[in-house]
């Protein structure tokens, strides 16, 4: 039998004004298990806590019921107080007689009656409480970063610089991500590769960073501090140790000229050979063979690259390899892509090669791009004279089938950038930007946009374009409205650039499922708290970096990458993690081994083992559920799925809840 002390708080007049505190004390004094009951002005104060500690010592209390404010407010306080007096902190229950009683009821008699009932429920529960102990789990001092774009690179560098080992897994043959495709960056117009390439090289050379390019995360198990990840290293068909990156193979690949394999990196604006590096500064500078297109893999003939390779690095026999590595923390930096434009037939993207996306424009303006940086129309290779930019293509759409409900955030700025860069090179180009709103919050951002208007005379028109019609003469007819001037506009253009909405990398859904990290309706990863924990996933040990969490520009991405790194470092700096003691427990004698609980566990905390049990003198090997206490977060989903009642939750056990029900219904 427990020896329970009940402490009723006045909370000044917050409780005492509506609840007859003295009466509550008198009425609960004779409840089963109660050996002591008292009230005090402020139970949470120093003096109040002192009173509790004294009572614990004097009456040898084994359980406490505090009738006070919400347990969300002071449960921790009172648990710490119990611990100070040598009582297990989980022997404390709080009856919420403020938020859920005194503050919402006016009639004193009624409120007092309810307070007594709430106290009784808490007393009944404490009678069944058992001392619980927080567990400890070790921390593997290594981090995984999924995605090798600027977000992943920055996070990895920051973690590595703090002295912890980091692995980057990148799906593409090279790190660099979207940023490596860009020409210049706003608002300072530095060349993207000039600022990115050094970082890529640094990643490659950093003693604490291991790169897995052309690799994918295949399986994730474990939990915060103790993840185990299977990484599939796809067969490159080139031995990275032998390859010198000379590029002979790519140059000689017969498919380079005749293969018609669109280059992913150049967004299909030019072709690439079957053995290729995505771009010249690729890291690592090791080509891969695209086995789907390679003649050797398709027919068994050719083999030119293997013959030509001076260091004999080409290896057609190479197989995918799975490596299993342990990590303490995982950062998701899977980045973004732009949406598919098939649904926007009115903009003629699929009809005319001269209607391009902004990211294609980046490639066309890049000195290393398909046109050597010379802006030209893809149809006739002429330099465009009149260029129209259309903003918000697929952004800010209400219906899911049309596009995305959010603002893609970066388009206003990069469009101003594009307009200015074009004007810089070819001043007699006419540029018109059709916008809904120009959104330029950010340091030096609005100044940047105004420069496009004031210095470069870019024509900004408020009004969305209705239709783009390719004309027989090869030009494009743009029909739009100038809402401010009240005019409908039909103008000819040589090139139309669409600011397509961005969306999270489509692979993120798969990855989020593996990590049990939650994602929102738009497939962006969810933060643990939108304001206070913006770089953490609700799933412990998973952190967010870059566009995977939401639209953002490069400076923001880099700051978030740093923030995620700090969170990771904070985790890896610990030797042990405390685990929540309110976990599920399986009674092996009752367990059927039916796997129902494992099917509903969101954390993969339940596994099945064959164990020897002694059931009323019968020794048997049974398949029973085992709860990994470090993984279990104590949600209790398993307990209500379990038909036999074998699964129970510590701190909220079946009996504790039913006894509360009984006490309330008494």
């Amino acid at each position: 039998m427990q020896k329970i002390g009940v402490f009723v708080c006045h909370c000044g007049t917050n409780i005492a004004a509506t609840v007859d505190v003295k009466k509550v004390v008198e009425l609960v004094r004779y409840e089963p298990g109660v050996v002591y009951a008292d009230d005090y002005m402020y139970m949470c104060s120093e003096a109040g806590q002192e009173k509790i500690i004294e009572a614990i010592k004097e009456y040898g209390l084994t359980g406490l019921v505090i009738c006070s404010c919400s347990p969300r407010m002071h449960e921790k306080t009172f648990r710490a107080c119990a611990e100070k007096a040598g009582l297990n902190p989980y022997m404390v229950e709080v009856a919420n007689i403020r938020e859920q009683c005194s503050w919402i009821h006016k009639d004193k008699e009624e409120a007092t009656k309810k307070a007594v009932i709430l106290a009784r429920a808490a007393i009944a529960k404490v009678n069944l409480n058992t001392p619980l102990k927080e567990g400890e789990s070790p921390v593997t001092k290594r981090a995984l970063v999924i995605g090798g774009g600027i977000a992943g690179i920055q996070t990895a560098l920051d973690i590595a610089d703090a002295g912890y080992e980091v692995d980057i897994v990148e799906k593409e043959p090279s790190i660099g991500g979207r940023m490596s495709q860009f020409d210049k960056t706003f608002p300072t117009l530095d060349c993207a590769s000039c600022i990115l390439t050094p970082k890529m090289v640094e990643v490659n050379q950093h003693p604490n960073i291991t790169l897995y390019t052309y690799s994918e995360v295949e399986k994730v198990s474990g939990y915060v501090g103790n993840f185990e990840v299977d990484i599939r290293k796809k067969a490159r068909s080139v031995d990275a140790d032998k390859c010198t990156g000379c590029g002979e193979c790519s140059a000689k690949c017969p498919l380079g000229k005749i293969g018609n394999i669109p280059s992913e990196f150049d967004r299909g604006l030019r072709n690439r050979p079957a053995i290729y590096m995505p771009f010249a500064q690729a890291v690592p500078a090791v080509p891969v063979i695209d086995r789907e297109n390679c003649t050797y893999f398709k027919t068994g003939k050719c083999g030119v690259c293997a013959k030509i390779c001076p260091s004999k690095a080409v290896d057609y026999e190479q197989q995918d390899e799975i490596v299993t590595v342990k990590y303490g923390a995982i950062v998701v930096a899977t980045g973004f892509d732009i949406i598919n434009l098939d649904k926007f037939g009115e903009y003629a993207y699929n009809e005319s090669p001269d209607v391009i996306t902004s990211i294609e424009l980046e490639r066309l303006m890049n000195a290393a791009g398909p046109t050597g940086g010379h802006l030209e129309r893809m149809s006739d290779h002429k330099q465009p004279k009149d260029i129209v930019f259309i903003q918000c293509v697929g952004s800010r759409c209400d219906s899911e089938e049309k596009g995305k409900p959010y603002c893609s955030k970066v388009c206003c700025m990069y469009t101003a950038k594009h307009a200015m860069l074009i004007k810089d090179h070819w001043p007699d180009t006419n540029i018109t930007v059709f916008y809904i709103d120009v959104r330029t919050p950010g340091k030096n951002f609005d100044e940047f946009y105004r420069r496009a208007v004031e210095q470069y005379h870019v024509n900004y028109i408020k009004g969305q374009v209705g239709k783009v019609m390719p004309q027989p003469d090869g030009s494009l007819l743009v029909q739009a409205a100038d809402l401010l001037d009240g005019k409908q506009i039909r103008m000819k253009a040589d090139m139309v650039v669409l600011a397509a909405a961005i969306e999270p990398n489509p692979d993120v859904r798969k990855i989020a499922t593996m990590l049990t990290a939650s994602i929102d309706n738009n497939n962006f990863l969810t933060e643990a708290h939108a304001k206070l924990r913006p770089v953490e996933s609700p799933t412990a040990g998973i952190f967010l970096s870059g566009m995977a969490q939401g639209p953002k520009d490069i400076p923001e991405t880099v700051s978030q990458a740093g923030a995620a790194a700090v969170k990771v470092i904070g985790l890896l700096a610990k030797d042990h993690l405390k685990t929540n003691p309110c976990t599920a427990q399986c009674d092996t004698l009752l367990c059927n081994g039916c796997s129902t609980c494992a099917n509903v566990c969101p954390y993969g905390a339940i596994t099945y083992d064959d164990v020897q049990v002694m059931d009323h003198g019968l020794r048997e090997t049974r398949r029973v559920a085992q709860v990994n206490l470090a993984l279990c977060q104590g949600c209790g989903a398993c307990t209500s799925a379990c038909p036999s009642g074998a699964m129970d939750l510590q701190g909220f056990s079946n009996r504790q809840i039913t006894t509360e029900v009984d006490a309330i219904c008494r």
Partner: protein, 131 residues
């Protein structure tokens, strides 16, 4: 004609059209797409504001309300699902109801067909009332 209760008119328009004028963000894609632009005194992107303000009389007395061809360009392209074409159509229906008109039975249609009725009108009527 003078509506006594503007609010209920607005609600009725919302109900008939099934679209929410408050969703409009004035992007102007409807106005940009409108083939009858030159004929319209109130432009499609303004329809939502007229309804929000309760200026229904004015909308109905405008040329625009009856110059809309119901070509559905604005309905197809509206990124916010406001679909100005539906709004103006609802306003027209509302007026028709005020005059005592109501739903038509399919049997009544053949009689009403005139020789020189433009086919587009028929097609657009079907598109409009398909559900």
């Amino acid at each position: 004609m003078g509506f006594t209760n503007v609010e209920s008119q607005v609600e009725l328009i919302k109900e008939i059209s099934g679209s929410d004028p408050y969703k409009c963000m004035k992007c102007g894609k409807c106005t940009a797409s409108c083939p009858s632009y030159d004929e319209m005194d109130i432009k499609p992107h303004q329809f939502a504001s007229y309804i929000i303000r309760g200026d229904i009389d004015e909308l109905l007395e405008s040329k625009a309300a009856f110059k809309c061809l119901a070509c559905f360009a604005c309905i197809e392209r509206c990124p916010r699902d406001v679909q100005p074409g539906r709004l103006v159509d609802a306003a027209r229906q509302l007026q028709e109801r005020q005059r005592g008109g109501d739903y038509m039975q399919p049997e009544e249609v053949p009689e009403l067909l005139a020789e020189d009725l433009p086919q587009q009108l028929l097609v657009s009527a079907f598109r409009r009332y398909r559900r």
